[in-house]
């Protein structure tokens, strides 16, 4: 087989993402209800009814990378949606207002699914969608964990809502809930979560890392949008075999030399993803740690609804400061990172405002240097490339000096 025709994990994953949108359009034409969902909603329950789901956050990221998000956001803003709202939400409202998108279009939903384990603004976003389109809202409220582990009462609360979602979906689909089907979907989803976790762990103690960490943001699309499907299992198995092959040969798919390994905190600035990758390449920086893609490493045992609830409730945005700090400290260790670059994401207040204290605590525990830059996940107006580069270069210079100095500053400050 010629090299260019070789099926790679990247090609397979891009194909699956396109397929997920295509299936939704086809379902819509056949009159099958199509749902829109927040990115870490327990899709298992929808999948077991065979209803297609689309993810506005994924769509907004996609159109942001294609430079279309701003025009959609302006449509939403001109209707009165505040510029202070999440840019994914504004892009989504703008999509409806505009009647579609040039680069990545989605059919209008017949129902919406919202879980606030990632964010609380999504509640109002999805309530607004449901009210405006006069469609059902399936809401799963994941109680915030302010005391370390997820308590049994929180798990029970989640599971009861999950069951209620099944009742709602029976009405929406006109089908009976099938526990056997749920068992099957849970098995596939959890397997995918495990494989995704494994693929992210393969850079640990391997030099150079077998991939450019930014690629995770592309691979991630299917664990977000196609988590309950067998095809995703195949794609991740292929990805893992590609990475293992690189490790065996001492090679990497990263096209830049890896001089420094860092953790990137937060959602990428999608409108500038190319610029950022280029800047990282210029300074020989690879992202080998990030907590963000781990959001979808949802691992539980087959048929264990409590385990599923625990996994969805333990999302890194749904835990207290100590746990959030632990997640970062572990990501830094697992990625053998030498520094941290924090994205002060104007859209995501939940992930950003806690960063000041979290960064201090992570620094106290690891001693690693860090810097932060301003930006936004989908609104191009909040990012300045010169500011980004100065902070990145400053961080690289500190890491360079510490490397020459055996990994530490010259004194304990």
């Amino acid at each position: 087989m010629a090299e260019e025709n070789k099926i790679t994990a990247m090609k397979m994953i891009n194909g699956l993402l396109a397929k997920s949108y295509k299936e939704a359009w086809e379902a819509k034409e056949k009159g099958i209800p199509v749902g829109w969902s927040t990115s870490v909603f327990p899709q298992e329950i929808v999948e077991c009814f065979g209803l297609p789901l689309l993810y506005p956050e994924n769509q907004a990221a996609g159109v942001a990378a294609k430079k279309e998000s701003l025009s959609l956001q302006e449509k939403a803003e001109s209707r009165g949606y505040s510029i202070d709202l999440c840019a994914y939400a504004r892009t989504n409202f703008g999509l409806l207002e505009n009647g579609g998108s040039e680069n990545l279009n989605m059919p209008k939903p017949d129902f919406v699914c919202c879980c606030n384990n990632i964010c609380n603004e999504v509640i109002k976003w999805y309530e607004s969608l449901a009210r405006e389109l006069n469609i059902p809202l399936i809401m799963i409220d994941a109680a915030y964990n302010n005391s370390g582990e997820v308590s049994q009462s929180r798990i029970d609360y989640f599971v009861e809502q999950f069951k209620e979602a099944a009742n709602q979906l029976e009405k929406i689909s006109g089908k009976k809930f099938d526990p056997k089907k749920l068992e099957e979907v849970m098995a596939i989803s959890s397997e995918n979560g495990k494989l995704w976790k494994e693929s992210m762990s393969l850079s640990k103690d391997v030099y150079p890392a077998p991939m450019n960490g930014f690629d995770l943001f592309s691979y991630m699309a299917v664990i977000v949008c196609y988590r309950g499907k067998k095809e995703t299992t195949e794609a991740f198995k292929l990805l893992i075999s590609e990475l293992k092959e690189h490790i065996k040969n001492g090679t990497t798919s990263n096209r830049c030399e890896e001089k420094y390994r860092i953790m990137m905190e937060g959602i990428p600035c999608w409108p500038y993803i190319g610029y950022k990758m280029k800047s990282f390449g210029k300074y020989g920086v690879n992202m080998t740690g990030s907590v963000y893609p781990h959001a979808w490493a949802l691992v539980y045992e087959k048929n264990d609804l409590d385990g599923l609830a625990r996994a969805y409730c333990s999302m890194f945005n749904n835990v207290d400061l100590n746990k959030m700090t632990d997640y970062r400290v572990n990501a830094l260790k697992d990625g053998n990172c030498e520094g941290v670059f924090y994205h002060m994401n104007r859209s995501c207040k939940l992930m950003s405002f806690i960063q000041y204290q979290m960064a201090r605590e992570v620094h106290e525990k690891t001693g690693l240097p860090y810097a932060s830059f301003d930006g936004d996940q989908a609104d191009p107006r909040a990012f300045s490339d010169a500011q980004f580069e100065t902070r990145l270069q400053g961080l690289v210079e500190v890491m360079e000096h510490q490397k020459e100095n055996g990994g530490k500053a010259d004194d304990n400050n």
Binding site: M344, D374, Q387, T390, R391, H401, D411, N413
Partner: protein, 258 residues
């Protein structure tokens, strides 16, 4: 052996010629920054005043906002490392450097050898920077270079509660139309700048000696307000606006000797 350090900022171009990594031969400041004729003019001024040729420079290092667009440098180094280097040369026992430039604020923490060990910069908003003071000076019909001196006459500084440049400007206009003395308004502006910068500096850590550099360090009113806000004495080197360029010249010398 001569090396040259150039610092092309957003509002001014600065340069230093150094001999043997030790002796400052010549310095120059042009109040036009990157993207203007400033970078070329500052280089010419340095060569004319030092009576040297470009070919006499063994190495040139460029820093500042315009560092990436300038051709002919041996290396581009961030202004963070350059300020740390330059200040340490002038004040060897420095611990924290606060640099307020035309459109950004930096707080740098140095290790005992003068190397940058951590830093914090302002967010995207330029409130509290040199540009903020330029805007205020405009409203007050005063030269920005006079702000420091005038503010020292204040007996009862006003409270400027907005950090946003646009809102702070309208607050200043309200005070002016209410007949408040200019010196009290200016002192209030300085206190507001100092509050914002001190909060940033505390995030990186305040370690003696605290040194202030950048164009705004020439404003005695801001420096005094910063001392009050931090409860520390602040040293301002004579070459406060040139420490980035000086650091660049020192890096150029080091690069030759590596």
């Amino acid at each position: 052996m001569y090396t040259m350090g150039l610092d092309f900022g957003s509002t001014a171009s600065k340069g230093v010629v150094l001999k043997d990594g030790k002796e400052i031969v010549c310095t120059a400041i042009i109040t036009s920054g990157t993207g203007t004729s400033g970078p070329e003019r500052v280089k010419e001024k340095l060569l004319t005043e030092s009576n040297l040729l470009e070919s006499d420079m063994e190495a040139v290092v460029v820093t500042g906002y315009g560092r990436m667009t300038y051709q002919g440098a041996k290396k581009q180094i961030s202004e963070l490392s350059c300020h740390a280097k330059g200040v340490h040369f002038l004040v060897p026992d420095v611990g924290t450097v606060i640099d307020i430039g035309g459109q950004d604020i930096k707080a740098l923490l140095l290790d005992k050898n003068g190397n940058l060990s951590n830093f914090v910069m302002n967010d995207k908003c330029a409130a509290g920077t040199g540009r903020f003071l330029d805007v205020m000076a405009g409203v007050l019909e005063t030269e920005v270079s006079m702000l420091g001196e005038i503010s020292m006459m204040s007996k009862s500084p006003v409270n400027i509660s907005s950090t946003c440049t646009v809102f702070a400007e309208s607050e200043v206009i309200s005070h002016l139309s209410a007949g408040v003395n200019k010196e009290d308004i200016i002192a209030g502006i300085h206190i507001s700048v100092a509050g914002r910068v001190a909060a940033l500096a505390k995030r990186v850590g305040i370690k003696d000696k605290v040194v202030m550099v950048g164009g705004v360090a020439k404003n005695i009113g801001v420096v005094k307000a910063m001392e009050d806000a931090l409860g520390k004495n602040i040293e301002v080197p004579k070459l406060a606006q040139l420490t980035g360029a000086l650091g660049a010249a020192l890096f150029a010398f080091e690069a030759l000797n590596k």
